[in-house]
């Protein structure tokens, strides 16, 4: 697949169809790829990669990149196209400046899960069908690919590309995923247990803002948490309240716009399951106001900019859960 993508990038560049190509660049090891804007064929041949660790969602970079002159090509996995579509809907990206190439994805890998399996000193990884051959400083190991899959890919919501100019491979379908199972499990707990769970998770937060800065829905020019005039700007998790406040408000600001791409959990250096907060909102919206998938339909009104005269009351929402 990597060669196919390289060839596609080269032909787009050579044909003059685009001036730049946004894709993933090879790192020191197999797993540490960096999103990169390629400008020359030489660069593409040297370092453009696509494999199980090309996990970063590239759509947010388009907000900045399309401010520059010229066309840019971008490679989007199915879930990335939801973010892209949502950004188009919000007029954050001029559609005519982007050449979107849909690419297939059979799930991305999570290096932390491989490390957690007890593998140290990983220097390279080879994909052999459904197994991974891992070279480490301490010898060769193999891991089942399914044991190394990122959480968001285990619970993949869709293999369908929402928007693209051309597609590599064949079109997939929306999947019936178990992505709300973990949310439901939490809902079944007692409030005390839930509180203890979130205290444990959120107390690890170091307020590095990686979740916010990586989130394709967080594209405000000036975030409320960076604005001293907002009165709630606090740079540090100075109290447990601040931790809760930051994550509740951040999630609330992307309600109805979060496509559940899972970048927040992927980038969190403290492995906080932030996707659960977003998924709770998505699940609630689905249950209260009808199924809604952000990014799917560009003409649909978002749940918070819409209403129905017979919407349920907050108290009914609680009753429904019982």
């Amino acid at each position: 697949m990597q060669q196919v993508i390289r060839d596609k990038a080269l032909s787009l560049l050579e044909a003059g169809k685009v001036d730049r190509v946004l894709a993933w660049k090879e790192g020191e090891f197999f797993y540490d790829q960096t999103p990169h804007v390629f400008k020359t064929a030489e660069e593409i041949n040297r370092s453009l990669v696509y494999n199980g660790f090309s996990a970063a969602n590239l759509s947010k970079y388009l907000v900045k990149e399309t401010l520059k002159d010229g066309m840019i090509a971008v490679f989007l996995k199915p879930c990335d196209t939801y973010s892209f579509s949502q950004l188009l809907k919000e007029h954050r990206i001029p559609r005519e400046k982007v050449w979107a190439v849909g690419i297939p994805c059979d799930g991305k890998l999570d290096i932390d899960r491989i490390r957690k399996a007890g593998l140290r000193g990983i220097t390279s990884i080879r994909e052999d069908g459904d197994r991974l051959s891992v070279s480490t400083i301490y010898g060769e190991k193999t891991v089942a690919k399914s044991d190394a899959l990122a959480e968001r890919c285990e619970n993949c919501k869709s293999r369908k590309h929402i928007v693209y100019d051309e597609l590599i491979g064949s079109e997939g379908e929306a999947l019936d995923s178990g992505r709300f199972d973990a949310v439901e499990a939490l809902e079944k707990m007692s409030p005390e247990e839930r509180f203890a769970f979130w205290q444990k998770e959120l107390s690890r937060c170091i307020r590095c803002n990686a979740c916010r800065n990586a989130c394709p829905a967080c594209t405000c020019e000036k975030c409320v948490f960076d604005n001293p005039a907002s009165g709630i700007e606090s740079k540090a998790p100075a109290s447990s309240f601040e931790e809760q406040n930051f994550h509740i408000i951040r999630a609330f600001h992307v309600v109805g716009r979060c496509t559940d791409c899972g970048e927040c959990s992927r980038v969190c250096p403290q492995s906080i399951p932030l996707h659960l907060i977003n998924r709770k909102f998505i699940k609630d919206i689905n249950e209260f106001y009808g199924t809604y998938q952000a990014g799917e339909n560009p003409d649909e009104r978002a749940p918070l900019t819409n209403f129905d005269k017979d919407d349920m009351e907050p108290a009914d929402a609680f009753r429904k859960g019982e």
Partner: protein, 339 residues
């Protein structure tokens, strides 16, 4: 040289925690973290903790002073308290080296008493790395993972922990717990050191080319056109700075509690857009300048001010944690390097 069987470590930990607060790396669901010893905790085998050990002396949030405001009058309350004695058990060579770098900033005149207060009350038991990771490159900065500094250095060999005192504090520590320790000779430790050195030799990032990061080349490196490419995908979060054991920039802020003003300091990141934002100007307008500042500070500015000591210890946390996998190792290889 002293030793203790690993199975007896819980006894040693209990004994230490009787008189002092004991912190050690413990495995949690999300990786190893330093935490206050509780009965039943075992020493993590992980090479690095998620968060660095700088938290002990330079916590993410720290109250500095309180103010009582009444009409036009203000009263300043000094809320500093003498720190309790504490022990860090199992800090790696890189983290221990980071203390030295933090010292060179916080203990320089005028001394930061908040930092000094904690620094003076610690006993550091370091632990050699039996299994360095691929992200480790401490040898680049002259750090020996097999011979960590600290008050006491320790090695895990087979089923025993070997310890040797490096300072007076370390001597006192070993003699205080002499009843649990037995004498040992150094041959096994020497052999272990060789073993570790051999592993370090095989690490992919060991000995990165840093020699050319000199004060004389400050402007040359600063103007290197490669910064633009390196920084282009940086998302401007603070992950690298917050997991870094040597990043020491901070912000001072006031919090209105409703019955007084609390002045606290918290970690800040040069990667943030508001780091140098002033009312009327912003000297570092784009992520390029902020990104460059971080690495120039570590590799050029800091050594220029501190007799060649780099502001990086090669712990590899930023390599493992950066959301886009852009890191100091890649920067070192690109800037002024052979590529």
């Amino acid at each position: 040289m002293k030793k203790i069987a690993l199975q007896n470590l819980p006894k040693l930990f209990s004994a230490i925690s009787e008189s002092k607060a004991l912190y050690l790396p413990v495995d949690t669901e999300s990786g190893a973290e330093f935490r206050l010893y509780r009965e039943g905790d075992t020493l993590s085998e992980a090479c690095n903790t998620n968060r660095s050990a700088k938290d002990f002396f330079f916590p993410q949030v720290e109250d500095m002073a309180e103010f009582k405001v009444e009409g036009k009058k203000i009263e300043v309350l000094d809320i500093r308290r003498e720190s309790e004695e504490f022990v860090i058990f199992g800090a790696r060579a890189c983290d221990v080296k980071s203390f030295e770098i933090l010292d060179s900033v916080f203990l320089a005149d005028p001394v930061d008493t908040y930092y000094k207060n904690r620094r003076e009350h610690v006993t550091v038991i370091s632990l050699a790395c039996n299994f360095p990771e691929e992200t480790c490159f401490c040898s680049t900065f002259g750090i020996d993972a097999a011979s960590p500094a600290g008050d006491v250095a320790a090695w895990i060999i087979d089923e025993e922990l070997y310890m040797t005192a490096l300072t007076e504090k370390g001597e006192a520590f070993l003699s205080a717990h002499a009843a649990l320790l037995s004498d040992a000779d150094e041959s096994k430790v020497d052999k272990k050191k060789e073993e570790i050195a051999e592993i370090c030799h095989r690490l992919p990032l060991q000995n990165l080319p840093v020699e050319h990061f000199k004060a004389e080349k400050l402007m040359e490196h600063f103007n290197d056109p490669k910064w633009a490419e390196l920084s282009q995908s940086c998302i401007g979060c603070g992950t690298c700075t917050f997991v870094c054991p040597t990043c020491q920039c901070f912000d001072i802020r006031d919090f209105d509690t409703g019955n007084g003003i609390q002045r606290y300091r918290c970690w800040d990141s040069c990667m943030y857009s508001d780091f140098t934002q002033m009312a009327a100007a912003q000297p570092r307008l784009t992520q390029l300048e902020r990104f460059r500042q971080r690495f120039m500070h570590k590799l050029v500015y800091h050594p220029a001010n501190h007799e060649g000591t780099y502001g990086c210890v090669g712990c590899g946390r930023c390599l493992a944690k950066c959301p886009i996998s852009m890191n100091i190792a890649k920067v070192i290889k690109e800037i002024g390097g052979e590529k």
